[in-house]
């Protein structure tokens, strides 16, 4: 009960009026922001669905243009980062702000907030790196936001096998692919920047405590949301 009073203070809504949503403001604000972000991605994904399924000609087959195994690995990275985010959150909720500590009676070592958040940041940064690499390769091969670049490798493939490469729909493929994945990548980048900022201003100086780790919970919400959007995007863009 010692720190329970203070904990109840900061991790709960401030209003003495009546329970609103029952959450403190930062978290509530993030929820509202995520609702708005859902609408943003809905606009992009909805347009993709309308454009893709409104076309009479075939869309490029999965894996024809895109490197699915590479992005599959990238998806795995992002899922790992979500797991490490949960670990970071659990660590600080239990009051473990340090990097690693021995676990009694086992060979294992257990990480704290500093360790798990670092893992999350690194996974996120690696995801962005892989995506940048993927973009560079795609553009090199001739897949651009405007479609298949004339005279490029992919354009030649498309000439040889117009159905598999969706020769007639390349322009829309490029438009939707780069816009959707690009804005997702932008969201991941923002998350990485925000987490890095928190890491240096709050986590390393050990400003979080089990009484107040609102920043971690709030950024965690965002991070899981970005992860979820990616799983949807990966499914509809790479696998279908």
């Amino acid at each position: 009960m010692t720190h329970a009073t203070a904990a109840a203070d900061l991790m709960r809504p401030p209003s003495p009026a009546e329970p609103g949503a029952g959450v403190y403001s930062n978290k509530l604000g993030m929820w509202v922001f995520l609702a708005s972000d859902v609408m943003f991605f809905t606009a992009l994904i909805g347009s993709y669905i309308i454009l893709r399924f409104g076309m009479s000609e075939a869309w490029a087959a999965p894996g024809a243009v895109l490197n699915v195994p590479l992005t599959g690995f990238n998806t795995f990275l992002l899922i790992c980062s979500s797991v490490s985010m949960v670990k970071a959150y659990a660590a600080i909720a239990d009051g473990k702000p340090y990097f690693l500590r021995p676990v009694a009676g086992k060979m294992l070592r257990d990480g704290g907030l500093k360790f798990w958040l670092l893992v999350t940041i690194l996974c996120g940064a690696a995801f962005v790196g892989v995506q940048v690499y993927e973009y560079i390769k795609l553009v090199e091969h001739g897949f651009t936001p405007a479609g298949y670049r004339e005279g490029s490798l992919i354009a030649e493939h498309a000439l040889a096998d117009p159905v598999r490469y969706g020769a007639a729909t390349g322009a829309m493929y490029g438009s939707t692919f780069f816009t959707m994945t690009g804005f997702h990548g932008f969201h991941v980048t923002c998350g990485v920047v925000a987490m890095t900022y928190l890491y240096f201003t709050k986590v390393l100086p050990e400003k979080y405590s089990p009484q107040d780790y609102r920043g971690i919970e709030t950024i965690g919400l965002y991070w899981h949301f970005v992860d979820l959007v990616w799983i949807i995007l990966f499914t509809i863009v790479y696998l279908i």
Partner: protein, 592 residues
Amino acid sequence: MTSVAHARPQAHDGAHHAPMSFWQKYIFSTDHKIIGIQFLFVSLFFLLVGGLLAIQIRWQVGFPGTPMPLAGLLPESMAVGGVILPEYYIQLVTMHGTFMVFFAIMPLLVGVYANFLIPLKLGTHDMAFPRINMWSFWLALLAGMIMLAGFFVPDGAARAGWTMYAPLSARPDLSGATLAQQLWCVSIVVLGLSSVMGSLNYITTVINHRAPGMTWFRMPLSVWALFITAILGVLALPVLQGAAIMLLFDQTIGTHFFDPVAGGQALLWQHLFWFFGHPEVYILILPAMGMVSDIVANGSRKPIFGYHSMVFAIIGIAFLGWIVWGHHMFMSGMNPTLGSTFMVSTLLIAVPSAIKVFNWMGTMWRGNLRFHVPMLNAIGFVSMFTIGGLSGIFMAATPVDIPIHDTYFIVAHIHYVLFGGSLFALFAAIPYWYPKMFGRLMSEPLGKIHFWLTFITYNLVFFPMHVIGMGGQMRRLYDPTIYDFLKPQQPLNEFISIAAFALFAVQFLFAFNFIWSLWKGKKAPQNPWEDNGLEWTLSNPAPHGNWEKVPNVYRGPYEFSSPESPNSDFLPQHVKLPTDRDPVPAPPPAGH
């Protein structure tokens, strides 16, 4: 688990402030009141810009081919020999709509009054996120500057109508503008960001930062309306942002979202735009309805008639607003069966709107009406919004929409809602909360003259537009006299134009009153309108941080002429009667 609520540190506690520099206090301020006032000045400026564009439009439509006075100031690319060029004309209509909707009415209602009123009316020290709030203002200003910059780039401002229908907007070779079209998109994306930041602040504040005893159904209708508006904003603006980004990509990096030649769809833009656009229409009217409700109850000295149904009407309008976007597209080639569905949902919006109008009348019925300037303008709102709402029924009925779609009939309709509605509500709200902002009252006689002259000239401008539209005059027509069937209407067009110049001139009375009263207005007493709201428990202007100790709330905001207060005809929300019990802080939820 003792003393939970009191120990809470407040980021912006009223009394304990270190003195701040001028910059901190008035420029990069995080105080919701200062931010509201900043929005007020900036959006009044953009209102003036929009008005200047409007009178140029009216000159051209009323007197096509005649040199416009002062047109010599315009460069050759806009007007030659004082005669407005067709390419400048479509920039005028595009930017008039854009500025008025996005940079004048929306920030005036939401930016100014959501910021200013929500914390004051709910009894809190500031917004939930004061710094995000500051960013919201600066981003809005940046967006406005980007939009304004369109006039100063080589090929002129954006020119595909404020609705930016693709593919015209997506193809510089077809519209004739390259950079300005891109600036339009960038500006909208920035504005969207600003709106989302503002709205998430308003929502969080309303949910989490109400004073003790300020239950949901004790909130003033203005706060209810602003809260619902914020929800609409948070969900609608991102859709516009997404669409604007796609449009920008079409213009810059070669995507083909809206280009049918490469497999894109022209109607996709319209669906996205109006999916945003219709909720946007309610963003532009709901706060006006809310503030008018407050002012009508105050002016009538009577509780608002049917408070709960007013709240549910706001929610109903906001909900229906999401499923009516197709009524902007009845003639677009959209599947006619979809048209039938959208017609029904659109007609149903008449129901909550009717509830609101009749409840305002019910409020005035057997009241004790005080005709102060805010009340006059609020009554103007009720009567003019009624016309705007009723003329909407013509367009909602799809067969009747066929001849009047895209004509001046719709121009009349939108102006009856946005000028007769939103702007009259602002002419009510600005003097009403002026003392709370600046500590002085605006001049009543000047305000009354302004009201009557505006009311008359406004109707002379916009009512005949219904007739012009029935006659078939299309929107955005540079020179209606090209068409034989429109020539006979030209005298009426001239009449409208002259009335429009008068209407524009009359607004300088308001501007003068506004500026003059800043220094010379009568010092306001603490509660000049004898209102019940929490904001009137503060001194004028309201101090930084608002209250040292937030007042308790014992009742709703509309207890006028209550038998419980025999000596006065109002009973403020914070006054404790012997029968009132102190609000109990909510029990903390178990665990966390």
